[in-house]
Amino acid sequence: MNKTVGLFIPCYIDQFYPKVAIATLQLLEKQGLTVVYPTNQTCCGQPMANSGFEHLTGGCNELFVENFADFDYIVCPSGSCTLHIKEHLHSREEQEAKDIRKRVYELTEFLTDIVKIERLEASFPHRVGMHQSCHGQRGLHLSQMTELVAPPFSKPGKLLSMVKGLEVVELDRSDECCGFGGTFCVAEEAVSVKMGKDRVTDHLKHGAEFITGVDMSCLMHLEGILRRQKSAVQIKHIAEILNPVG
């Protein structure tokens, strides 16, 4: 595939979880893609917009368009940030923004739908709980939603099934929100934490050794709860499982 991919890394991954970004970069490069990370990027603007301040996000939007207008594809290891760009990116150069909205992909949907990946050189001999992040699932339709009467599918699930030794654990509530919700996690701290604790309990109950997902923000919230509980269960972004970095 002779295409150039612009790597779009969410700000909190850049700052707190560089390993996830490295895994994403290497995973894409292994597919024979030219991947470029525009180093002047910051944030998609979602934290402000979801708090009701979308009218302030002009600066982030223009920056995003400047950084990403020239790529064939824009790929991001986050369903939530991808969805925000898809739904809310505008610009003084509106046509460019419109084109970007069509060319931006979440990592697992890009690997499944565009790269059409069929096999992976990865091994992860562990019991793994898959956390369905809402924006990826209900927003980008990365997998089927339990509310709908429709046939099941899962793009991240399909990728995980290619990993040697990995066993996905069944959950009682396969797609309930973890309660992160952006600024909700501090504005509604009590409910946010309770939702997170309940998600964690579901994974623990079914013997997960790791919790994975497509959104590091949800996983960061769950990690905070796991570590407070002094649990041995760890979180891993799906890119880190599909492309293990030492």
Partner: protein, 462 residues
Amino acid sequence: MKELAHAALSARFNEDEPRVDWHDETLWWVRQKRDKMARSIPEWEELREGASQVKEHVLSHLSEYLEMFEEEAIKNGVRVHWAADAAEHNAIVAGILKGHGIDRMVKSKSMLTEECHLNDYLKEQGVDVVDSDLGERIVQLAGEPPSHIVLPCIHWKKEEIGELFHKHLGTPKGNADPQLLTHAARLSLRKEFLTRKVAITGVNFAVAETGEFVVCTNEGNADMGAHLADVHIACMGIEKLIPERVHLGIFLRLLTRSATGQPITTYSSHFRRPRKGQEMHIVLVDNGRSTQLGKADFRSSLKCIRCAACMNTCPVYRRSGGHSYHTAIAGPIGSILAPNLDMEKFADLPFASTLCGSCSNVCPVKIDIHVQLYKWRQVIVQKGYVGAAKKIGIETMNYTLSHPWFYRMAGKAGRWVMRVMPFAVSNKLNPWYRQREMPRAAKTSFTDWYKANKQAAGDNKR
């Protein structure tokens, strides 16, 4: 501060964690029943689409259907009243009662009368109202508003109901047997049904072509009230219309499957004309609905058929309880309806959500509830109903994220602080840290790694 009302009320609800678990599991069980029922109908998603389109059509022709309905209802011998707001609605009902010299009446469940605070108003007028729906009766005896639009006392445990009934209905102390309690309620309500001359019911669907209306109950209490009373007053929001009887075939199949996971309500009572000697009134209430209809982003909220599926599925509602929404209609749908009535008072509600989108997926009339929650947030902020601290916080964050050099510097400084002085952020002033550990601060950001390992290696200069 108003914007924190839901957060504060739900924090209080969460002080009793086992109770939160019980509340969550009870409603999740209802959600699962709904899923099972929905899956028993292969054409479920088509039904939802059909219902949505019928309601969209009605909203686009609302004035015509209202006039048609009024004309047919009058032909049927029904007296039709129009109320612009809650106050007018309450005055109309009080006027009918006064006209008959009546100071006691029985009411079957109606969320509209809750929305209009009819009970309080009538009490002030010296009218004694008995709610005849069991759940509604329980919260009435307890002096509380309903916490859920279909299951008004879902926040009450049966042992607590036993205590309440012991106090008010004289059931044996310590007895929480549901059958015994239901029987006691039935005996006491029967007396009310037989002696009250006026009955109020809500309306689930009003059929424009025939002027009839349908009331759905599981206990038959609407029928009991209406059939025994000399005067039947039916109160409805103007959005309750459907064009033709045939459309009931869509809505009656969807309503209870979505609400409680039953194939249909036990009673779907059709009222068309008063029986001989009876008086029948319909009060058509606007109360903000035409304002909402005029808002392109929010008009489709009027498609709502009050099934409460969005509440049962909402992970926030299940863990914060209906009263934390401090409005008659709680949960996701209430959070997009209430700001239309009073934006300042209900400025907190659109923020009481993670925008997970489950509500929109279960909605039988396909209201894009989570999208409207997002849009209400924008409106509320622009109108200035948001606290100064939050505004400054978001503006600072926005400045940082709009300026790459400042973002890099702040990121580096922040991570340094977290590594060297973790107590600066890991303290009780930080709501993240209260019940969660902070993420571990990486030494280098990905950007720095990339510059050092990729760009320096000459892979990509950009």
